[in-house]
Symmetry: D2
Subunit: 367 residues, 4 copies
C-alpha cells in the first residue's frame, strides 16, 4: 500500500518533468576586464515566503533563463502577508531555491530584507548565515546581528515613499555608515534609478548596487514586448564563487545595468567599452577628401550610443551613432583638414555610460 | 501599539503598489459569431497550493495580461508536494484568486484535478462547488461527487505517459462516458496536440477542450522571444458569465487555438474566418489579361494561411499566402480564361484551420 | 512574331506578380480630432532619378506597408549622380510612382528639392506642377517659379553641415520668409530633430514639417530589429485629398512623430491624447485608504509616457507610467487626504509630447 | 566656375554620407565543417537594370546587413521593362555593385538570367565574363556561350507557371544536362520550396541551389515582423574567394536554408548539427529513477527541432524539443530501465533537417 503510493508519485513526477523540457537561456555578454570575471547579479528578490508571488525555485529558473549568474533571495523579515497559508522559517525560501540553483549552476545567496518603517526604511543583508536571528524589533540590533554574521548590507530604494521619490538620508543611515555596517546603496531598484543615490555612493564610497526587487514573475515586469530587461549588477570578481563576489562587493567593483544605461566608475566603464569592440579600418578618397569608413564590431549585448566631439583635428561626425550589440556597425567619419594623417583619433562621449549623475564617459576611438 | 502595526502595513502596501503600476493587456481579437460572444478561456492551471509555482493571484494577473476572459484554477487533489510549507484546503487557491479576478473583470472558475494513476489518469472538474468533497480514494466516487456538484468534467492529456504520447482509451473512460459524466476531452494540453483525441471528440460528441496546464509563470513557458502563445479555448457563449460559458461547453460550442492552428467544427471555423475579413476589390488590365488586385483586411489576431485550389474558373494563384492578423494584405489573383467575369470566386483551403485531424477547411473567397 | 513577343511579356508578368503577393500593411492608429481626418504623411523622399537608391514604385509600396496615407517624391534638381544610366526629366519619377499610388490608394504628391550650396541650402517644393521649370541657377528664381506653380515650400534640414548640426538662419531665409514664399521648416529630417528649428517654427508661424529624406529602402534605415519607425507628419485635414492636405499645411495643422516623441501645438497634442484613451474606473479601500485602480485603454499606436504631478489634492503617484499603444494599462493612484472624493483628477505631464523644445504637455486625467 | 561645381559636389556628398552611418550587420552563425569555411550565399537577384526595383549598390548593402558573404547580380537578359529610363549594357549593374562590395568585403559575382519562355524557362549563369555576349535568340546558344565563359549554370524555379507549381522537366533540360552544361537546380526560389526539384537534384547529381530572386528591397519581402529571413545557400569552400566557391559548387558542397529548414546531403547536415552543439551533462536521482538533465548550448543561429525515438535502451522523451539558436537549452531525459548506465545515447530525428523530400535526419545525441 505504501509502495503503491510511492509508485504513484513517481508517475506524477515523470509527467511533470515534461513541462520543463524547453527552458532556454540566452547569454548576456559583457567582457571580462582587468583579469576579473564579469558576474551578472541580482541582489534583491522575493518569494511567496514573504510578499512575493512565486515559489522559490522560480527565482532560480528565471535567473538562469534571464542570463544571470547569481541571485539573492531576500524575503522580508517583518512583512509576510501569506503567513496564514505559507509556513516555514526565514531560511526556508533560500533552502528550497538553493537545491534548484545547484542543478543549474547558479549562485544562490542567502539574504533577507530588514523591513522597518521610515526612518530608516528597508535594508538588505546578503551573505547571511541565519535569517531567523536577524529579525529584531530594533533596527540597530538587526543590522548588528547581520553584520556579525558577515553580511553585506545595502540601503534599499532610498527614495521610497518620499515626495517625488527623491531620496532622504536620515540619522540612522549616518549611524550605520559610521559603524561601517552599511556598505552598499541601491542606486537602481526595479525600474527606478535614483541619481541622488548615485552621487551619495560616489561621495561616501558605497558600493553601487542594483536590485530587481522582484515580487511578480520576472517576465511579467520585464516584458519582451516592451523591450525591457531586468536591471543587473555586474560584479568584477576573481572567480564565480560566493567568496569572490563578496570580496568584489567590498572593493566596490560593480557597474549597474539599468535599461539602456551603464552606471559606474570611469575605469570599469571605459574598460567594458574598449573590450566590447573590435575595429577594422578602411579608407576611401572622394573628390580629394579623406573619408574613414570604419567597421566596428560590438561583441557585447549592450548598445553603446556615441556622440562625436568636434575638435581641432578636423573630424566632424555630426550625429549620434548607436553601436548595436552583437552586431557590426559601419560608421563614416570625415576629415576636413588639409594634411595627411595616418592615425585618426575620434574623441567621443558615450551618452549612455554614466560615471556620475548626468556625466557621460568621454573617451577616444582610435581608428 | 496595535495601531502602529496597522500603520506599518499601510506603508508597506503603498510601497508594493508601485510595482504593479505598469501592467499591460493586449487584446486578442476574434470576432463574435452567430450572435454569440467569443470568450477566451484557459480551463487548466496550477498554483503553489498543489505543484504549481505561483501564488493564485498570478494566474489572474497573467490571464488579464495575456488577453484572456476566463481562467480555471484546477489544483491537484491527490498531489501536493509543497504541503509541508503551504497549508489550506482545496478551495483556498480559488478563493485567493477570485478576489483579484473580480478587480480585473476576469471570470475565475473553481475547479480541481482528479489525479489518479493510469488507468484512468487525470480528469478536470470545473464549475465545482466544494473541492474538498471531491477528494476520494475511488475514481468513480470522485467523478460522481463532482458531477453531482454540477461540474463539467474533462479527460486531461489523454496521451500522458503513453508510448509516443499516443492516447489510450481505457474501460474507465467508457464507463464515465456511458454515465454522461465526462463531457470534454483535452485535445491540446500545454504545447501538445493529440490528433487522436481530436478524432475521438468528433466521434463521441465530446467538447473540444484545451488547457495550458500551467505550473510555471505563463511567460516562462510561452516566451515572447519564441513567438509562442498560451493555448486557448474559444467558447461561443450568450454572455460573458459563468452560466453562459458552462451552457456553451455543454453544447460543444468551442474552438481550440494552439500555436498557429484553430481546431474545431467547420461551421465555427468558417464563421470565424469570414467575420475576420474585410475585402475590397480593384482590377487592372495588363496586356489584355485580367488581374485581380485584392486588399484583404484581417481584423483578427490570427494569421490565416491560405492555399488556392485550381479549378475550372481559370483562376491560378500558385502559392501560399498568409493573411496576417491585424493587417491588410494584398493578394494578386490572375484570370487565365477568355471571358469577362464580374464576380470572382477564389476556392481555397485554409491550411491552419482543421475541422478534423489533418483535414483543413475548404471555403471560397468572393472577390 | 510581334504576337509572340507580346505573349512572351504576358508570361513574364504573370511570373513577377507572384513575388508581390504578400504585401502587408499594419495600420498606424491616431485618432481623428476636431472633426478633421488625421493624415499620415512623409514630405521628403528620393529615387534613382536623383541620388536615391530605389525605383519610384518602391516609395509607394513602402508607404503603403509602413501605414502612410501620403508621400512626396522630391528628387534633387541639381544633383543626379546616376544620370549616366538613368534618363528622364524632372517629373518622371513622380509619373512612375503615381500609377502605383493610384492602385494602392496612396496620395502621391509631385515635388522637387531645390538643392543649393550653403547659404541657403536645400528647400523642398511640394504640390508643384512642372519640376522642369523650377531648375534655375538662381535660388530666388527657383523659389519664385515653384511659388507661382502653387507649391508649398519648406526649408530642409536647417542644421545640415553646420557645426554640431545647429541650424543657422541666413539672409536668404529671411528674404523668402518676407516674400511669404517659405511656409514650412523641417524640424525633423531622417533621424535628426532640431530643437532650434522647432523654436523658430513657433516664433515665425512656420508649419512644422518632418521628412524621412529616404535614399535607401525604408526598412534599411528604420529597422524593425531596432524598433525604429519612419518619422511622419500628421496632418489634420478635412478630407484625404491633395487639396485638403495642402490647405491644412497652410493653416499649420500638423504634428510631428519622431521616435517616441510627438511635437506640435498644445491643442493638437492634447486632443490626440484625450481621443486616444478610454478610461474605466474602479476603487478599492485598503486599511482605510483610498486607492484608485484605473484601467486606461490606449487605442492609438503611440506609447504615452506620463509623470504625475504632486499637488494639494493629495494624489501621489511616484513614478513614470507608460500607457502602451494598442493596449489596456493599469495604473494605481493613491489618495493621501482625509476626505471622500468622488471625482479624482490626476494632473500629469506627458514627457514625450512636446509643445516647444523641452516643454512637455501638462494635462489632467479625470478618473 | 568649374571649381565651384566640384566644391558643390563635395558638399553634397558630405551630406549624403550622414545617412549611411548606422548600417548594422548581425552575423548569421553556422559552424565551419570538414576543414571548410561555411560561406553564406544568395545566387539570384535583380536590380533596376532589369525588372528589379533597387539600385545595384542596395543589393550589396542588404547582403552585408543580412549577414551574407556572397551575392550574385543576375539581371534578366531578355526582359528589361525600365529600359526607356535605365540605360547601360548587361554588365553595368554588376560593375556598380562591385565597387560597393569591395568596400564591405562582400563577394559580388557577375551573372545573368537567361530568360526564355517555357519550355525551357529561366536559367542563371553565374561566374560569367561578359553578359552582353550571352544574349542570344537561341536558348542553346546562350547556354553554350555562358558555359564557354566558365559559368556555373542553374535551372531556376522549375515549377514556375506550372499547374500547382509542380516542376516539369522538358527535353531542353535533358539536353543541357547531357551536355554537362547544367550543374545546379533551384530547389528553393524566394519563399517557394519544390520537393520534386530536391529529388531530381539527388537523382541527377545536381548542385542544390537556392536563390532569393529579389526584385523588391530585401526587407520588404522578408519582414522582421513576420520573422522571415532571406533563403540562403550555404557553400562549404576552402576559402572565401570566388574560385573556392565555384569549385565547391561544382563538387555539390551546398546546403539550403529555407524558412526553418535545412535541406542537403546527410553528411553536411549531420556535421552542421554536431558542430553547432556543446553538451554538458548532469544527473539527479529521484525516487530511485535515473533522470538525465542535460544542458545543450546551440551556438548556431538555427533552431533545431528534435524528436526522440523510442528504443530498447529505455529512454523516453515523449515530446518535441526545440534547441533554440544562440541559446542554451535544458532537456530532461528519463531512464526507465533497471540497470545503471554510464553513457546515455539519445536517438533522435531532427524534424527540420531534410536529407531528401520529407526524410528528416536521424542521428544520436550522446549525453
Amino acid at each position: 500500500m505504501k509502495l503503491l503510493t510511492i509508485l504513484f508519485y513517481i508517475q506524477i513526477i515523470t509527467y511533470c518533468s515534461v513541462f520543463s523540457q524547453e527552458s532556454t537561456r540566452k547569454e548576456l555578454i559583457f567582457p571580462d576586464i582587468f583579469g576579473l570575471k564579469t558576474i551578472k547579479c541580482d541582489f534583491h528578490s522575493h518569494t511567496v515566503f514573504s510578499d512575493g508571488l512565486v515559489w522559490p525555485t522560480v527565482r532560480i529558473k528565471e535567473a538562469w533563463a534571464d542570463g544571470l549568474d547569481l541571485i539573492c533571495i531576500t524575503d522580508h523579515l517583518e512583512y509576510r502577508p501569506h503567513e496564514d497559508d505559507v509556513k516555514g522559517d526565514f531560511n526556508k525560501s533560500w533552502e528550497i531555491a538553493k537545491k534548484e540553483a545547484d542543478k543549474l549552476n547558479i549562485l544562490c545567496i542567502k539574504g533577507c530584507e530588514i523591513t522597518k518603517r521610515l526612518p530608516p526604511g528597508h535594508f538588505n543583508a546578503v551573505f547571511t548565515k541565519d535569517n531567523n536571528k536577524i529579525l529584531k524589533d530594533d533596527f540597530y540590533e538587526s543590522v548588528n546581528e547581520a553584520y556579525n554574521q558577515g553580511a553585506f548590507i545595502t540601503w534599499n530604494h532610498p527614495g521610497w515613499l518620499q515626495p517625488n521619490s527623491i531620496p532622504v538620508w536620515y540619522e540612522q543611515q549616518s549611524t550605520v555608515m559610521h559603524n561601517k555596517q552599511m556598505q552598499g546603496i541601491e542606486v537602481v531598484n526595479d525600474k527606478y534609478y535614483a541619481p541622488l543615490a548615485f552621487q551619495w555612493a560616489i561621495d561616501s564610497n558605497l558600493t553601487l548596487i542594483c536590485g530587481s526587487d522582484l515580487h511578480n514573475p520576472s517576465n511579467m515586469d520585464y516584458k519582451c514586448e516592451n523591450n525591457s530587461h531586468r536591471p543587473l549588477t555586474l560584479v568584477f570578481a576573481k572567480e564565480k564563487t560566493e567568496e569572490s563576489v563578496k570580496e568584489a562587493l567590498l572593493k566596490r567593483q560593480t557597474v549597474i545595468w539599468h535599461e539602456n544605461l551603464l552606471l559606474g566608475n570611469e575605469k570599469y566603464l571605459n574598460e567594458l567599452f574598449e573590450n566590447s569592440l573590435k575595429i577594422s579600418y578602411d579608407t576611401a578618397t572622394y573628390y580629394g577628401n579623406k573619408t574613414a569608413v570604419v567597421k566596428i564590431e560590438n561583441q557585447s549585448s549592450f548598445d553603446f550610443e556615441i556622440v562625436p566631439l568636434e575638435v581641432e583635428t578636423g573630424l566632424n561626425l555630426n550625429s549620434i551613432g548607436t553601436l548595436y550589440g552583437n552586431s557590426t556597425n559601419i560608421i563614416k567619419a570625415k576629415y576636413k583638414g588639409k594634411f595627411e594623417i595616418t592615425k585618426l583619433e575620434l574623441p567621443i562621449i558615450i551618452k549612455n555610460l554614466l560615471i556620475a549623475p548626468e556625466i557621460p564617459l568621454k573617451t577616444v576611438i582610435i581608428l
